[in-house]
């Protein structure tokens, strides 16, 4: 990233998700050109057109599935030019009960939330490290802070992604490149449609987008989108396991 904190070009992975498109638009409104990556080319084009009409920035589309054998590493190596910033919003909540019954359902959740995004960020990190600049931002989840019966398959994958980002940040610290971990709590999106969410703890995709853009600019390390979630997750982590295992939260 250039010294004046100007983000010239940003890559958004998972750009067709509600949070992904909000982040992309937030970056475009700051005048940043975009590379949008997502699985479905038709939906990717719809999001790219929307951002072009609204902001006039240059947008390129990159069809990419993190479930590919190489985890999208091919995309990371092929991007030209290499972006100043990369944001990964790829994720899948899945259905906890289905994941308990069916190994392939669990595998899809694990792959989509951990293996794919981690391999992708790892491949990008190699280019950022070699260049000695740039910010990688990964959207993880508060669900990764402690495994709970209600969503531990998703939570464990997010925990893996959080740990991966932490290690990557550690590795890149001396290089000039930087890694941001963003943990939204509940967000009203397609992923959570139909769920009963507690209003004061639930944000909009635009709120996550603002937090992500700000965290990138300030090169923050770990960001909870709503501060109250930091306290909630701290409390949850502090409960002794002997008691925790009997709780239903």
């Amino acid at each position: 990233m250039p010294a004046n904190n100007d983000i010239g070009l940003a890559l958004v992975l998972g750009a067709t998700s509600d949070i992904g498109r909000a982040i992309a638009l937030g970056l475009a409104r700051e005048g940043c050109d975009l590379q949008l990556a997502g699985r479905d080319p038709a939906r990717l084009k719809a999001e790219a057109d929307d951002i072009r009409v609204r902001t006039g920035v240059a947008v390129t589309e990159h069809a990419c599935d993190v479930l590919n054998a190489d985890g999208g590493a091919g995309l990371a190596e092929a991007l030209d030019p290499c972006p100043d910033v990369a944001v990964c919003v790829v994720g899948l909540l899945g259905d906890q009960q289905a994941s308990e019954r069916d190994g392939s359902a669990a595998q899809l959740v694990m792959w989509t939330n951990y293996v794919g995004p981690a391999l992708l960020m790892g491949a990008l990190a190699a280019r950022f490290e070699a260049r000695g600049s740039g910010v990688l931002a990964g959207v993880s989840s508060v669900a990764g802070d402690r495994g709970r019966a209600t969503n531990y398959v998703y939570g464990s994958a997010k925990a893996g992604f959080t740990a991966f980002l932490s290690g990557l940040r550690n590795r890149l610290a001396a290089s000039g490149a930087h890694v941001v971990t963003v943990k939204p709590g509940f967000v009203r999106t397609r992923m959570t449609e139909g769920m009963r969410l507690p209003g004061p703890l639930t944000g909009a995709p635009e709120e996550v987008a603002r937090a992500v853009v700000e965290a990138i600019r300030r090169r923050r390390d770990v960001v909870y989108v709503r501060r109250v979630w930091r306290a909630i997750m701290l409390a949850i982590r502090l409960v002794p396991e002997r008691l925790f295992k009997r709780l239903r939260i």
Binding site: R43, A46, E47, D49, D50, V53, R190, E193
Partner: protein, 442 residues
Amino acid sequence: MKLSGWGRYPVVDCGTATLRGPEDLGGVLARRGTLIARGQGRSYADAALNRDLTLSTLGLGRMQAFDADTGVLTCEAGVGLDDILRTFVPRGWFPPVVPGTKFVTVGGMIAADVHGKNHHRDGTFGAHVEALTLATADGGIRVCSRTQDADLFRATLGGMGLTGVILSASFRMQPIETSFVLAETVAAADLDAAMAVFEASHDWPYSVAWIDCLARGRRLGRSLVLRGAPMRRRALPAALASRPLRLAPEGRIRVPVDAPSLLLNRWSVGLFNGLYHRRGRARAGPRPVHFDPFFFPLDRIDGWNRLYGRRGFVQYQCVLSAGESAAGLAALLGRVSVAGQGSFLAVLKRFGPAGEGLMSFPAEGYTLALDLPLRRGTLALVDALDGITHAHGGRVYFAKDACCRPERMREGYPQHAAFDALRKAWGAPRKFASELSRRLEL
């Protein structure tokens, strides 16, 4: 989920879902029962309610293309007018027609074929729509325009969502030099005077009148006629010239709770209307007004519908032919002032000729809109007003109507039979319905 329109009456427990793209259509259309699309829920009563499935289009919020040579914007149906204004006013473009609030969607503006203060010159929003894509009952997605499935196009303009789900549309925006309107207020002592001002104001692009509903006898129809024209850049005062295409500040006042139902009574409303009239008379001469307060004065008050109390209100809006207007309006206003049902907002407007939509509301003549807080006797009063409208050959606006009788609707909308036939031909009745269409037997 319990839903209502902007008037908060009626309240209906509705099944709900959100449409985020054409890929969601298959699942939605496969559900049992009927559905109606709903944008920002700014129709007043039951037009955007269906107990089986009320389908939110707010997930369809993408803009698709803009041609800076022709001004044609193509966008998804759930894009808000406020979003369009924020995006395009600073670039020197303005929507061709805007209703009295900016918190509406493109799909809603087409479904209700909305009118604005420029109807006498520019017609409805639908007149500026070049094409739209519609999801029909058979699961198909059709592009309709004046040259392609033209019947379906004409039925969808003003069709209240009953022909299918509008997915996107292309419409022509107008170039503007500034975001200001040169506006002036003309006081009219009575109804005849107000109508005379309208007849003399045809060349003003924008006109509308606020009527004091409680003025009786000789002063029946006492009103302030507001008229305006887009400002040219060179006409802008120096203080505004630095940013001629500025947006209005975002601040909004919130109504945090339902007002007690007694807040708006004939004395408080009478006092307000009297003060408003005096203030209007005092402000003679044209002056620059930003488009936001000019077109959307009530948008500043977040949740102004709560001012009418928990029980909600009914908005009554009808149109009468030019020949019937003088007698019909006098009868309507007379009936309201006798009832003493404080109507905060009574709006009068001269319409131009009717457009092409089969079920579009506007027609050559005068339209009157009244807010009536819901109390005992309100629905009977609305029915009495409907009787007057009907006797004068007029009709009511579906986006506002809460209690019209089906037989009066049929007489007011002579093309309803063609609309029915076209809906049947497209298989619409088995898939698309609303509480309004059930009530009116549409």
